[in-house]
């Protein structure tokens, strides 16, 4: 018994303390170093933060280059799939276009009327600054749904800015480096945004699931989201303006979990718009 314990200690000591011929550091030394790095990073130690920013800048650029072949394969696969579905998609688009054309006229009228009414009730109109960014890396592992974009603090990007794909909200800025930033997508488990579900007008919180959809949380009115309910930002947090389309409630899962299918396909993003909303003076 005593001998086997000795063997265990010798084997462990040899594994963690012994340096191989070309090794500069022992395993134990590096383990301690990574723990110290982790603790100091967690405590926002200034020197570690500078090191982190430098490493991030290098890694994001390198990752963009290294991911080139994989992106090529991915894009080729998507192009082939699109070609195969071309006929069905065309038929669907034709029918959608007819409906949309009729809705557009009505929409224009409603926007103008809304602006006029806002001025009457002395509400503010939101103005926005937009920056277009290219996606450097779209790491969407099951544990983290985020993208890295080629705009950073030198392009006046700030934490919390809204990130949109066309007219649809896709996430917000959670990390800003000098020339790059990280966007936390709405589908990430850690993403939570205040939303309003129309036409019922229910206020709620949209949380990510780590999958491709979101889930409505803290909504007491169970039957209010029946049918094709659309989820918009409510503007409660002050970061996003109200009324940005996010997704629609999946009709099948009304009775159990209210999942939200996002309008934007996060796996096919190439360029995004970073938007900062601010109040405009009423005229």
């Amino acid at each position: 018994m005593e001998t086997s314990r000795d063997d265990f200690v010798i084997a462990i000591r040899s594994a963690f303390l012994k340096k191989e011929t070309k090794q500069r550091f022992s395993l134990l030394g590096l383990v301690f170093f990574s723990i110290i790095f982790l603790i100091l990073g967690g405590l926002n130690f200034k020197v570690i933060n500078y090191v982190k920013i430098a490493i991030k800048e290098i890694v994001y650029r390198s990752s963009y280059i290294v991911s080139g072949p994989e992106k090529f394969i991915k894009n080729s696969h998507l192009i082939i799939q699109e070609h195969l579905n071309l006929y069905e998609e065309n038929q669907l688009n034709k029918s959608k276009l007819e409906t949309l054309q009729s809705k557009e006229l009505l929409n224009e009228f409603v926007i103008l009327e809304n602006k006029r009414l806002k001025l009457i009730v002395d509400d503010y109109i939101v103005k926005s600054n937009e920056t277009i960014a290219k996606i450097l890396s779209d790491k969407q592992s099951p544990f983290l749904k985020s993208i890295v974009i080629n705009r950073g603090s030198k392009h006046k990007i700030n934490l919390g800015m809204a990130v949109m794909d066309g007219e649809y909200l896709i996430g917000k800025i959670v990390e800003v480096n000098y020339g790059t930033s990280r966007v936390l997508l709405l589908s990430d488990l850690n993403s939570k945004i205040p939303v309003i579900i129309e036409p019922s007008g229910t206020l709620s919180i949209l949380s990510g699931t780590g999958k491709e959809e979101g889930v409505i949380q803290y909504s007491k009115k169970e039957n209010l989201t029946k049918g094709l309910s659309i989820v918009y930002t409510s503007g409660s947090s002050g970061l996003f303006k109200s009324g940005i389309p996010v997704g629609k409630i999946n009709g099948d899962s009304l009775t159990t979990k209210k999942t939200v299918k996002f309008f934007s396909d996060f796996s096919q993003l190439e360029f995004v718009t970073i938007v900062k909303f601010k109040k405009a003076d009423n005229q």
Binding site: E20, F37, G41, V59, V66, H77, K139, F143, E175, L189
Partner: protein, 173 residues
């Protein structure tokens, strides 16, 4: 002469192959989401680090593994240092197994690898959720660990095959 030069080149490439593969695997964003395989994910870096520390002790330096861990944290978005810690502990367990093994056996290595990745995944899960307030779906983490475990068997054969093909030597410690 040229045969000898070719041979030297092959030896150099083979010795650098694990390092190149490790950095490619941490720097690229490869996943199978676009193929519709939602729950399919495995950690290639774990397999690579464990295999090469167990079988070819000099092919991956600890410092290189530490830096690869930092790179992985940047790409994945986890607090910097956590992947390095996990990778180095994985190295430690592989070296420990190498020290206590007299007769190498793939099945035993495979089982030891499973126990190691389960412990290390639990450790990273605990640190991320309890200390850094990350929300992680443990089912996904478990599926990832199981797939990594299953793929170890295939990749250990592949790595061995590549070395035999390039160098003409069989698996010997």
């Amino acid at each position: 002469m040229s045969i000898l030069q070719n041979r030297n080149f092959l030896i150099k490439i083979t010795s650098l192959l694990p390092l190149i593969l490790l950095y490619i695997s941490v720097l690229n964003t490869f996943d199978f989401n676009y193929l519709g395989l939602k729950y399919f994910s495995f950690n290639f870096s774990y397999i690579l680090i464990f295999y090469y520390n167990l079988k070819r002790e000099k092919s991956l330096g600890y410092t290189a593994i530490f830096i690869a861990g930092l790179f992985n944290d940047v790409i994945v978005g986890t607090p910097m240092g956590i992947s390095s810690l996990i990778y180095l502990l994985l190295c430690g367990s592989a070296v420990y197994l190498r020290n206590i093994t007299l007769r190498p056996n793939l099945m035993k290595d495979w089982i030891f690898f499973l126990v190691t990745i389960l412990i290390l995944n639990s450790l990273s899960f605990t640190i991320l959720t309890l200390i850094f307030d990350f929300e992680i779906n443990y089912i996904d983490k478990l599926v990832n660990a199981i797939c990594t475990f299953l793929f170890y068997f295939i990749f250990s054969y592949l790595f061995n095959l590549v070395e035999v093909f390039l160098l003409g030597s069989s698996d010997a410690r």
